[in-house]
């Protein structure tokens, strides 16, 4: 019976993670003129210039944050979708199906996204 209490707590925690990591993303990618950190953009210019992306990609911190943000965003978003669908009062079997489909979609996207983050990291280290 603890299920909703547990899921809601994780939903809040994922929201907090998104707030922090998306804030970092916005700061690094879009507020580089305001908050200038030389080690994040060593080549100068725009943060998404190839050399800057490669330089950041060499650090294990970046793929790690991508994976954490991806997990948090997927859980937060898909749990929200699940709540919306459940409010339509579907039958019990449909609820189970919705949960299973969303779980599969979430895990699938997480695996693909994690693979992309690791592949990017490997590529950057190889260059």
């Amino acid at each position: 019976m603890m299920r909703d209490q547990k899921l809601w707590t994780w939903h809040l925690a994922a929201g907090a993670v998104i707030l922090v990591f998306l804030g970092l993303h916005m700061t690094i990618m879009h507020l580089d003129k305001v908050v200038s950190v030389a080690s994040l953009n060593p080549a100068g210019g725009h943060p998404i210039d190839w050399n800057n992306v490669v330089a950041r990609g060499k650090s294990v911190l970046f793929p790690l944050t991508y994976v954490v943000l991806l997990g948090a965003a997927l859980f937060h978003g898909l749990y929200g979708v699940r709540n919306i669908l459940f409010e339509l009062d579907p039958a019990h079997w449909l609820k189970r199906t919705i949960s299973a489909v969303l779980l599969l979609v979430g895990v699938g996207l997480f695996v693909v996204g994690t693979w992309a983050a690791i592949a990017g990291f490997s590529l950057a280290r190889a260059i």
């Binding site: 019976m1 603890m2 299920r3 909703d4 209490q5 547990k6 809601w8 707590t9 409010e87």
Partner: protein, 274 residues
């Protein structure tokens, strides 16, 4: 329309008699207006002059019993607590509380609400049940501790919040603002030790998780209770509980009886009558 110029009022009432009607329908009745007339007074006048078979629930006529909750001019209210002149115009539109089945005319079936209420054990739960049954004193509770739940204890279970709640309207599993607000009322009471027992229901789908915080429950409450606030506070308690951060609350102990000489100006208690 001011009370002075009002001489007659039209009551537009949603009628339904399951023995006769296949679906609810509207009927209109014109009745004389008397100064100070409440919506409930008007219903009695309709019954007296126009529709003797009109059915509704009411009892105290003073906003205490919670029997006469109904939809008046589109808002869930107590009929006894609503002046006809406060509605504006000379037409009073009355329907049974939404989100409930209709037994007859303005009588809603409130049993599902009370089933949800009962499931959340809305009473003080303690391990020392003997002290509840045969008290040897009073449980110690400070004024501050009383403040934490006092406003929620003003609930009269009229069902207006349930009728106004958009989540209760659509989600069959949601307990609704009244039962959840009352669960919070007892969870917050320092005399109570029943949080774990109520959590069996609250931590699941019937708990506060589906609340959108539309806030309609608090807007319509005729007693000024804020169930929406109770539900949000309850979410916080349950999240802290899951994270093992909730402060364990020892139910209040029996207060020590005052010692010393009794002040002479205090009269003795009257003799027991039973």
């Amino acid at each position: 329309m001011s009370a002075k110029s009002l001489t007659e009022v039209t009551y537009r009432i949603r009628r339904f008699n399951p023995e006769r009607d296949s679906a609810p329908h509207w009927e209109e009745y014109r009745i004389p207006y008397t100064p100070g007339m409440t919506v409930l007074d008007g219903l009695w006048k309709v019954k007296e002059l126009r529709a003797p078979d009109l059915a509704w629930r009411s009892s105290c006529r003073m906003g205490v019993c919670g029997s006469c909750g109904m939809l008046v001019n589109g808002m869930a209210r107590l009929a006894c607590n609503t002046q006809v002149t406060d509605l504006g115009g000379d037409t009073v539109v009355v329907a049974p509380l939404p989100n409930f089945d209709i037994i007859r005319d303005l009588v809603p079936e409130l049993a599902p609400m009370f089933d949800n209420h009962r499931a959340l054990q809305p009473y003080v739960i303690r391990e020392d049940a003997r002290e509840l049954g045969e008290p040897t004193g009073e449980f110690a509770q400070s004024a501050h501790e009383l403040e934490q739940y006092l406003q929620f204890s003003y609930c009269i279970k009229c069902g207006c919040c349930m009728a106004a709640c958009p989540t209760y309207a659509t989600d069959a599993l949601y307990s609704g603002p009244m039962p959840l607000g009352q669960a919070h009322r007892y969870n917050t009471d320092t005399r109570d030790g029943g949080f774990a027992a109520r959590r069996e229901v609250l931590a699941g789908e019937a708990g506060p998780w589906r609340c959108h915080y539309a806030g309609e429950c608090s807007r319509v409450c005729p007693k000024g209770v804020d169930p929406a606030k109770a539900i949000q506070l309850m979410k916080r308690e349950l999240v802290l509980d899951y994270l093992r951060l909730r402060k364990a609350k020892c139910p209040a102990k029996v207060a020590a009886k005052p010692s010393g000489v009794r002040r002479p100006e205090i009269p003795d208690a009257p003799a027991p009558t039973v």
